[in-house]
């Protein structure tokens, strides 16, 4: 029996034939997908010098006399994030209870689950457009958008926790003759509160991220300032805003990690 003189790691994709077939499928997909992008090659070629131009005009980032604009936008974003997280939590408690199979009657359960699916499916910016139509331009639309998105997100997480609780305490409290609210307060809440606090802090971080973009469709916050600085070709201010957003988001992520470690 002869052995090959050099060893090759076995391929993860199987036989050479299968590998070629996969590569062919990939190539065909790339051709189809790239073809569907309607690429304007002229514009693409001009993109590189343009990118350099924009970048050179971004450097150094400069705020100049527009500090009040930057400051107001950032504060508005932070306020939207905090406010919407808390409103979202307040709404998520009834929603989460309603979406728990083990607590809620069937029709209420289905309605709550439907609401959760809607909130999870549509991007925050998309929901924001509708609230801008309803409430006009400004941070109220953003606040309500993020509150809605947070309520469905937190509600879903809460419902999953509640569906997984130990049934023993619920039964014990119920056998003392407790009402539904007393059962929730003494048997359900203690079992889910720690995890829910963690999710809440995570959502605060997520809302901080989203509060920087909903302004692009007119829902308040720093996004509006950024968008208008781009359309005015005011690139050094845009760069300053981008850096501030990045710092804020990085801080939010650090804070969220820290706070969740404290809870555990």
């Amino acid at each position: 029996m002869t052995y090959p003189s050099d060893w090759r790691a076995p391929s993860m994709l199987g036989s050479p034939g299968r590998r070629m077939a996969l590569l062919a499928v990939l190539a065909a997909y790339l051709v189809w997908a790239i073809g569907s992008l309607e690429i304007d090659w002229d514009r693409m070629v001009r993109g590189l010098p343009r990118a350099l131009d924009i970048f050179s005009r971004m450097m150094p980032p400069d705020v100049g006399d527009r500090w009040p604009l930057l400051w107001r936008g950032m504060i508005e974003s932070i306020q939207m994030a905090i406010g919407s997280t808390l409103i979202g939590m307040a709404l998520a408690i009834p929603l989460g209870l309603a979406a728990s199979r083990n607590l809620a009657p069937r029709p209420i359960y289905l309605f709550a689950r439907g609401l959760i699916v809607v909130g999870r499916t549509f991007h925050e910016v998309l929901i924001a457009i509708f609230f801008v139509k309803l409430f006009g331009f400004g941070p109220v639309a953003g606040l309500i958008t993020l509150a809605f998105a947070s309520a469905t997100f937190l509600g879903k997480m809460l419902a999953e926790d509640i569906e997984n609780i130990q049934p023993g305490p619920v039964e014990a409290i119920r056998s003392t003759g407790a009402s539904f609210l007393q059962i929730v307060a003494h048997a359900v809440a203690p079992q889910v509160i720690v995890k829910t606090l963690g999710v809440l802090i995570y959502r605060l971080d997520a809302n901080l991220r989203h509060s920087t973009v909903v302004g692009i469709v007119g829902a308040g916050g720093i996004g509006a300032t950024l968008s208008s600085s781009f359309s005015r070709y005011d690139y050094d201010f845009a760069a300053a805003i981008l850096l501030t957003i990045a710092a804020l988001v990085a801080f939010g992520e650090w804070f969220s990690d820290w706070a969740r470690r404290q809870i555990r």
């Binding site: 569907s36 993109g47 343009r50 306020q79 905090i82 998309l126 469709v217 308040g220």
Partner: protein, 275 residues
């Protein structure tokens, strides 16, 4: 000899008459948290200069829009097939590009594979920059560079996803089994060979899982990239809303809902198969 339990009258119990779950100090801390949260909430909501008169008739307006939306304009569907396909393509191409870029970045940002603290800082810097800027904002930037169109969308999705994917791979690389690295090194393998043979295969399940998970997030994100001109179905949605074509809006929303839910289900199914 077995000693009997102490008599209860000897150790007079000092428990309260009514059962309390928390000590007074715990209660005080809970209250302080609640008060602090309430102050934050009041500050956040009160200084947003809310125009309450707008809120008053919001439910009427919502009902008005809802009635104008119904029924969805099914005949509009053929016109949005192409943009819908483009939306999914933006997500897929962006994710593919991100995976290709994320691999080197992950090796830079993992402590055990990076060359020195400078390269580590560069790797980490790319992670933070990529992750801190939202896809839509990346879209704004790339539209300024490449002009409006799906290309800007692909770049935006890739730019945001690189950090997401690379961060998770870097964390996996930091936790790989050292024995395999040593075994590969003992055969005289170079650094790149060690990465390819000993580290990458261990990180592969995470790489595939993360990429597919990011892909389904990206489908959702690319549905709104059109709002800043970066291609896909968002452009059509924005145009329909601005021309008050509410029945078209509902048609588009249904279509977006279907592709987002379908991609989420597909992603969950594939990830379930791998792990």
């Amino acid at each position: 000899m077995i000693r009997s339990e102490p008599q209860s009258e000897y150790y007079a119990p000092r428990h309260p008459e009514v059962w309390q779950r928390h000590t007074p100090i715990q209660k005080l801390i809970h209250w302080l948290w609640l008060v602090g949260t309430a102050i934050a909430a009041v500050w956040a909501v009160s200084s947003l200069d809310i125009e309450w008169s707008f809120l008053a008739d919001a439910h009427e307006q919502a009902a008005d829009i809802a009635t104008r939306m119904w029924p969805p304009r099914w005949s509009y569907f053929p016109e949005i097939i192409q943009p819908l396909i483009q939306t999914v393509h933006i997500a897929t191409l962006g994710t593919m590009a991100a995976v290709a870029l994320a691999l080197p970045v992950a090796f830079l940002a993992a402590r055990n594979t990076t060359a020195n603290s400078l390269t580590w800082a560069i790797g980490r810097g790319i992670l933070v920059a990529s992750r801190s800027i939202n896809t839509v904002i990346w879209g704004l930037l790339f539209v300024a560079i490449f002009g409006p169109g799906a290309v800007a969308g692909v770049f935006a999705v890739a730019a945001r996803s690189v950090g997401f994917i690379a961060k998770l791979i870097a964390e996996t690389i930091e936790e790989v089994d050292g024995g395999q690295i040593e075994a590969a090194r003992a055969t005289g393998a170079g650094t790149l060979q060690i990465w390819w043979v000993a580290i990458l295969p261990q990180a592969l399940p995470v790489l595939i899982g993360t990429s597919i998970y990011r892909w389904d997030i990206n489908v959702r994100e690319s549905s709104v990239l059109g709002f800043v001109g970066a291609g896909g179905i968002g452009l059509y949605l924005y145009a329909s809303i601005n021309s008050f074509a509410w029945q078209q809006v509902l048609m588009i929303l249904i279509a977006i809902g279907v592709i987002v839910l379908a991609s989420e289900a597909l992603s969950a199914w594939v990830r379930g198969k791998i792990t």
